[in-house]
């Protein structure tokens, strides 16, 4: 068991961000967090990333978390390769960064400035930057929401593929229920900072958008979110 949260809360003055969260995430487990805006999804992610020092309760986090944000957040003054290699320790960081860029399909664009890349390509650089560190927990904060529909589908496929090869635990924050069902093994639902629903998906659930079992689960989750499908 890598990650353990017991009674984790976070609040600012009058606003409650997270309230008494109990959660375990196993090695290599893929977890989606869904919920309406302001439900605490991103607060939970930031706590797990170690970016929030104001949380209370017990949190045994990952040893090496890596984050992909909603925007790629690349350093615009560094090439794609340098962005991936940034702060990378160990042997041959640039070679490892180059291999990871190739893995996300950006072979040949190593020297491009972030501005010269498309939105989808930039997000792939951000994915490479996270994965090259061999994280034990990969945190994705609505990483596809700024992409156009076609780019989003291929980026989702890329994430599924990369997880198969590297097998980090994965926490995907999303407002897209379908995306959660396609990419993860377990769906958490947050409302007003509380964990209100925790659903493990059957291992044999077909990960196809038009599969009736998946469509039925999607409808159920949407109802729980208060949306009539």
């Amino acid at each position: 068991m890598t990650i353990v949260l017991r009674g984790v809360s976070r609040s600012w003055e009058e606003i409650v961000g997270l309230s008494d969260i109990d959660l375990d995430i196993a090695d290599g487990e893929r977890v989606a967090v869904i919920g309406r805006s302001g439900s605490g999804k991103t607060t939970l992610l930031r706590a797990l990333a170690g970016l929030d020092t104001g949380i209370t309760g017990e949190l045994r986090g990952a040893a090496a978390p890596a984050v992909v944000f909603q925007d790629p957040r690349l350093f615009p003054w560094r090439s794609a390769l340098d962005n991936v290699a940034l702060g990378l320790r160990g042997t041959d960081p640039r070679d490892r960064a180059r291999a990871m860029l190739a893995e996300v399909g950006l072979h040949g664009r190593e020297d491009a400035w972030p501005r010269q890349l498309s939105g989808g390509q930039r997000q792939r650089v951000a994915l490479a930057r996270a994965l090259v560190r061999e994280p034990d927990l990969l945190l994705l904060d609505e990483p596809f929401s700024a992409l156009d529909a076609l780019t989003r589908v291929s980026a989702q496929a890329l994430v599924a593929d990369l997880w198969e090869r590297h097998r980090p635990a994965l926490l995907l924050v999303t407002h897209d229920v379908e995306e959660a069902l396609l990419l993860t093994d377990r769906v958490l639902l947050l409302a007003d900072g509380r964990l209100v629903h925790d659903e493990r998906l059957p291992a044999d659930l077909p990960r196809r958008r038009d599969d009736p079992a998946l469509v039925a689960r999607r409808a159920d989750l949407l109802r729980r979110l208060g949306v009539e499908p």
């Binding site: 990333a49 170690g50 970016l51 978390p65 890596a66 984050v67 944000f69 925007d71 957040r73 350093f75 615009p76 003054w77 560094r78 340098d82 940034l86 702060g87 400035w113 972030p114 501005r115 010269q116 890349l117 498309s118 939105g119 930057r129 560190r133």
Partner: protein
Amino acid sequence: MATWQLASSTGALPATTIGSPQDVTAAAWVLIEDGQLSHALVVSLRRVVLGVLLGLALATFFGLVAGLSPWGDVLLDPPMQMARAIPLYGVVPLFIVWFGIGESTKVILIALGVMVPLYLNLTAALRGIDPELSEVADTLRLTRWERLRHLVLPAALPGALVGLRLSLAVAWLVLIVSETINAESGIGFIVNNARTFLQNDIIVVGLLTYALLGLATDYLVRRMERRALRWQGGATR
């Protein structure tokens, strides 16, 4: 140029006001021939280079301290803002009392003039660093040095270069003033001497030299900017 020459030739522009381009060129040629201009140029350039180097070093040091640490800001920013508010030429008498009328007064005046614009632009640029990128630096667990090298300095560079251009323009202005007030050599000395003997042509040569020097430094900084800020261009979308 043609209008100027025409006005001078027809007498519409008397030589006592300003000489014709022909006269000015002739005067310049004489100054170049006898080595006066090159000697003056070396002397003036030396003052500017020393003053600029000192001013840039001070601005970079104070700017980094004030821009990167809260207590540095509290300690350094008020005196720097005061220095900005005092007209530079107002301190000339005090400097003459302190440092005499030698080279050091001119160099220190230039250094002070240069320091202010770079300091202001550098601190503003450092305060404006994107907090989202700082967060990335946190998640990547960058060391202090890596953060400075890959985030802080490149992010502050565009603002710092704007400050550098303003600073260099100020450097020439201060040079002119300090050389006009007191100098035994340099371009300002030539101009001042020419005034005494009502040699308008030579004054114009001196002014043109200042203008060319100003243009040359601006060109150099622009080239630096283009090279240092390559990442800003070449957008494909």
